[in-house]
């Protein structure tokens, strides 16, 4: 989980305006969703993969590995769509009959399933492009520009910062429990886990008090206001994403008319 976060800071694209990356991601995401075509979806995967791996410098294997994460959900989902139930037998490519009903796969089913499969992967690749190349802090900046309520953004920022503190504390505590054989049997593991959860809760509460004191002594009065690092935005940056998406749209329309929407 945490290594995804690391890539965002290594990426060569992390100095780019997060707004630009967001717009690129959402545009392509939308086009991929609308086009509903295997070729367009594959193109999206290739384009987003190319940006992330070659422009961003994220290791190829890491990207592939991340793309396989949603695979298990996807396969289950696709299977349920690919398999159809009917009383007629002539529509099936392959089927088995159970008590007079036929369960099997149809051409339509395969088409639907594969287009869904690629569409989902294409959309996932858009999101990976955004999350692997944009640090969370920059994303919050975009949300702020989009006038998302301040409270949400403050909470998201604090949660993001303190996840790491919490994980670190948890790691230390687990190590110290393990070194006293806290997880040596099933029953002991349960007990240790319970203690861990309670203590973490108490620690977090204590830390939130300390944080409040520290914020207060720097003049906190209900709102966390900070100055963000500035990004250079040029309108010409948006040229490439627009062109790419126009191309994808035209490609989708073309496929719809001439190849029956592959």
């Amino acid at each position: 989980m945490i290594y995804i976060d690391k890539y965002a800071y290594i990426s060569k694209l992390n100095k780019q305006d997060p707004m630009y990356k967001c717009i690129f991601c959402i545009l392509t995401f939308g086009v991929c969703l609308w086009a509903n075509s295997i070729i367009v979806s594959s193109a999206v995967i290739i384009i987003m993969g190319w940006y992330t791996i070659f422009k961003g410098g994220i290791p190829f294997l890491a990207f592939i590995k991340l793309m396989t994460i949603p695979m298990s959900f996807l396969i289950i989902g696709v299977l349920t769509i690919g398999i159809s139930v009917s009383e007629k037998q002539n529509i099936f490519l392959y089927y088995i009959s159970i008590f007079g009903t036929n369960i099997g796969i149809t051409i339509k089913g395969i088409q639907n399933a594969s287009s869904l499969f690629f569409k989902a992967l294409g959309m996932v690749s858009c999101l990976y492009y955004l999350s692997l190349n944009t640090p969370v802090v920059d994303l919050l900046q975009v949300l702020r520009k989009l006038k998302v309520p301040k409270l949400f953004i403050e909470l998201m920022g604090l949660v993001y910062r303190f996840i790491f503190v919490l994980l670190e504390t948890m790691d230390i505590m687990i190590t110290s429990q393990k070194s006293r054989m806290g997880y040596s049997s099933f029953f002991k593991s349960y007990r240790s886990l319970a203690i861990l959860a309670t203590t973490l809760f108490i620690r977090s509460y204590k830390r939130s008090n300390e944080l409040y004191t520290a914020l207060e002594s720097r003049g906190y009065d209900g709102e966390i206001n900070v100055i963000e690092s500035s990004f250079e935005t040029k309108w010409k940056h948006y040229f490439v994403p627009t062109m790419i998406n126009l191309f994808l749209i035209i490609l989708a329309l073309f496929l719809r008319y001439y190849s029956g929407g592959l």
């Binding site: 976060d5 800071y9 992390n14 100095k15 640090p135 969370v136 802090v137 920022g157 604090l158 993001y160 910062r161 790491f164 503190v165 830390r207 300390e210 944080l211 004191t213 520290a214 914020l215 207060e216 002594s217 720097r218 003049g219 906190y220 009065d221 966390i224 206001n225 900070v226 100055i227 963000e228 690092s229």
Partner: protein, 282 residues
């Protein structure tokens, strides 16, 4: 302008659970000095520090800032916190943002300065604490020492008159300790800051501090320049502290080996001088 920037008179503080943490503290912070508050664990150093910028309101007694008692109104506290900045012991509970830059800007933004002014202050604060290269790093990738510097920069950016540091050297390696202390010295010289630190690290006291208070169980047991304070080894040890290593060595040489030195000697350079004078006189 009075000589002392902060004066604390007969300060008492009780926690709501009945713990009497401060029992009549009186101390003075001279403008532009570095003052150390020494004491074992749980002697009330942190409590004392929290009363200095109005986070804790004392039960009785007075705190004077620039000769005027602290005002606990909203506006009064805001002004006070501009002038008295606290750096807490654990940077992980002080740094609230995952972005180093944003965290440092927080205090300055709260002072209602223009964006340009804040940016400039953040940049100078980062230069002064040697962390300009960490600007784009997320907080959770920093080492403990780096986090500590970011915490200091966040307070320096507010350009306070008094810098309060709770255990600034705790958890740092020896090089880290001397770097932080030298850095504070340098900042103090350029900005004319008054610094007050609490510490267990006795050896840094004669090197970097002008005045020392020794606390024990919520009371001040000893005060004076480092030289004066370390002339009372018995009282120091009663407070769960010790002499600086050099001071201890010189004490043994004097008592057991027939050397004679004047006053207490606590740093390497002082000791060197004292031994040279002694050998000349022999």
């Amino acid at each position: 302008m009075s000589k002392n920037i902060i004066e604390v008179r007969n300060l008492h503080y009780k926690y709501s659970d009945g713990t009497h943490a401060l029992k009549g503290i009186t101390l003075e912070l001279e403008r532009g000095n570095t003052t150390a508050v020494l004491g074992g664990n749980g002697t009330g150093k942190s409590t004392l520090f929290l009363t200095l910028n109005g986070i804790l309101k004392p039960f009785s007694g007075d705190i004077l800032f620039n000769g005027f008692p602290l005002a606990y109104s909203r506006k009064g506290l805001k002004n006070l916190r501009k002038s008295v900045g606290i750096v807490f012991q654990d940077p992980d509970s002080q740094l609230f943002s995952a972005s180093v830059y944003q965290d440092i800007s927080f205090g300055a933004v709260n002072m209602n300065l223009s964006e340009e002014e804040v940016r400039q202050r953040v940049n100078t604060a980062m230069e002064r604490t040697n962390i300009s290269h960490l600007k784009d790093k997320p907080t959770h990738f920093l080492s403990f020492g780096q986090k500590k510097r970011v915490a200091i920069a966040g307070v320096i950016a507010m350009q306070p008159e008094v810098l309060v540091l709770d255990e600034p050297t705790a958890g740092l390696d020896p090089i880290g300790v001397s770097e932080i202390m030298k850095l504070l010295r340098k900042i103090q010289k350029t900005l004319g800051l008054t610094i007050i630190i609490s510490t267990h690290d006795i050896d840094i006291v004669p090197l970097y501090c002008d005045y020392v208070y020794v606390m024990e169980q919520g009371k001040i047991m000893l005060k004076g320049t480092p030289k004066e304070v370390f002339e009372n080894p018995k009282k120091i040890r009663n407070a769960n502290l010790r002499l600086p290593r050099i001071g201890h060595l010189m004490e043994i040489l004097k008592k057991k080996d027939g050397f004679s030195f004047e006053g207490s000697t606590n740093t390497i350079s002082e000791a060197r001088k004292a031994i040279k004078t002694w050998s000349k006189n022999e």
